[in-house]
Amino acid sequence: MRREVDERFAAYVRARGDHLLRVAVLLTGDWHAAEDLVQASLVKLYRAWPRLDTSADLDAYLRRIMVNTHRSWWRARWRREAPAAVLPESVCGDDLAERQAVGAVVREALARLPRQQRAVLVLRYCEDLSEASVAEVLGCSVGTVKAHAHRGLRTLRERLGDEFDRFEVNETGASQRDSG
């Protein structure tokens, strides 16, 4: 029975691990912290696994573990965070390098938001949860979710400045970046 549990658990991690890391890096701001957060959350899930109805929504269960673990356990950055007013230049204008640089700036901007705003943005726009579902995960009202989302997006837009505008979808549905 134990071996069967382990194999099913491992199969779940292999199937969803990549997605969990992506959510975690938006919550924590860097990949090392994301790995720590996902591992810590998976240990908790593993402990509870024998009691779980594994036909249920495991993602929802693990999501709640990750958010609560992140709430009580911060991966602080033990240095002054300097605002990245200018994007780091890629050496040769390579598109991949530029996207990686943009990704780093976005993660840093997100990491500087208050924890609750950050959690709302990640759950709404990375996990694509409804406002009601986000409220349930975070244990707050839908109104609070709306307020956090509004303030978080506004702050993110202010901090990212030109980079946000470059990615903005214009009226025709094509991104300005794609056409630029």
Partner: protein
């Protein structure tokens, strides 16, 4: 979903594209499973009589575990006496009936041994402790307060110097004459004073394990209710949870602090113990010493 929300989705997708190679998510789970197996085999090898002897030996030789109260108060004193960095989220939820302030994220460095420290938040507030003085950045709120009550702030200055007001030692709260009011406009309490308050904790109870990057420990709930040792004897209370690591240091404090009519939510993470801290006073040309300070 509107354009802004859709743009956020696209940016988050870009921000999560570059997953580093070689991440093994199952590593921690496997390690935990192996530890259980090793322990089970070791105990099985002892046999029943061996296990009884082992338990008896442990019981006779182990010192009594310190109480939850001792764990927390000692941890607060030890942390306050060291050098550390903090990152905190603070929100003033009520201030004499006025509208609450937004969440402020702050970063700080403290070295009690050398009496230097610095605390800065994302709303523009800054405070520095160096050379026996406290330097407070004159935010718009502070300037407005001085405009109402005086004295007038000279032109061209950005900081006020409170001479003879060094970094709080984080000693017992009974010695606190005032709290170092974080200059985000009243109410937010700096970490040294929070650690001082924690040493007056009552009703301390262990509530479970705690862990973080590179540390494990225990979580405790606590309550603090005291009065400052100043002329007004302002009531102060703090209640919440604190995580203490196995080296006896405070790692995380989440709670609600009440100071007079101001109530703040605080979530503070401590780390980087023993790290050197360097703080410089602001330029003298930008510094003002208020009369009577």
């Amino acid at each position: 979903m509107n354009d802004t929300e859709e743009t956020a989705r696209r940016l988050f997708a870009v921000a999560t594209e570059d997953v580093p190679p070689g991440i093994d998510l199952l590593r921690a789970v496997r390690a935990r499973s192996r530890t259980r197996v090793v322990r089970a085999r070791a105990l099985a090898a002892l046999g029943a009589a061996g296990i009884v002897a082992l338990i008896a030996g442990i019981t006779l030789s182990a010192a009594p575990a310190p109480s939850a109260f001792a764990q927390v108060t000692r941890a607060a004193a030890r942390t306050a006496a060291a050098s550390y960095t903090v990152r905190s989220d603070q929100k003033i939820v009520a201030i004499g009936g006025l509208r609450s302030k937004p969440w402020a994220t702050a970063y700080g460095e403290f070295d009690t041994v050398h009496g230097v420290g610095e605390f800065t938040d994302n709303l523009g507030a800054q405070i520095r402790w160096v050379a026996g003085s406290t330097y407070v950045f004159l935010t718009d709120d502070l300037r407005a307060a001085y405009q109402r009550t005086g004295p007038p702030i000279p032109a061209g200055v950005s900081w006020e110097q409170l001479a003879g007001l060094p970094l709080p030692t984080g000693g017992p709260a009974a010695e606190l004459g005032m709290l170092s009011i974080f200059p985000g406009f009243l109410g937010s309490v700096d970490p040294q004073d929070l650690l001082a308050l924690l040493q007056s904790a009552t009703d301390v109870r262990e509530v479970g394990p705690a862990s973080g990057p590179g540390w494990t420990g225990s979580a405790y709930s606590f309550t603090v209710a005291t009065k400052l040792n100043g002329p007004v004897h302002t009531p102060v209370s703090l209640r919440g949870t604190v995580d203490v690591d196995q080296q006896g240091r405070v790692r995380q404090l989440d709670g609600q602090a009440s100071f007079a009519t101001t109530v703040s939510q605080v979530e503070i993470t401590f780390g980087d113990f023993g790290r050197p801290v360097s703080v410089s006073p602001p330029p003298a040309s930008q510094t003002w010493v208020p009369p009577g300070s």
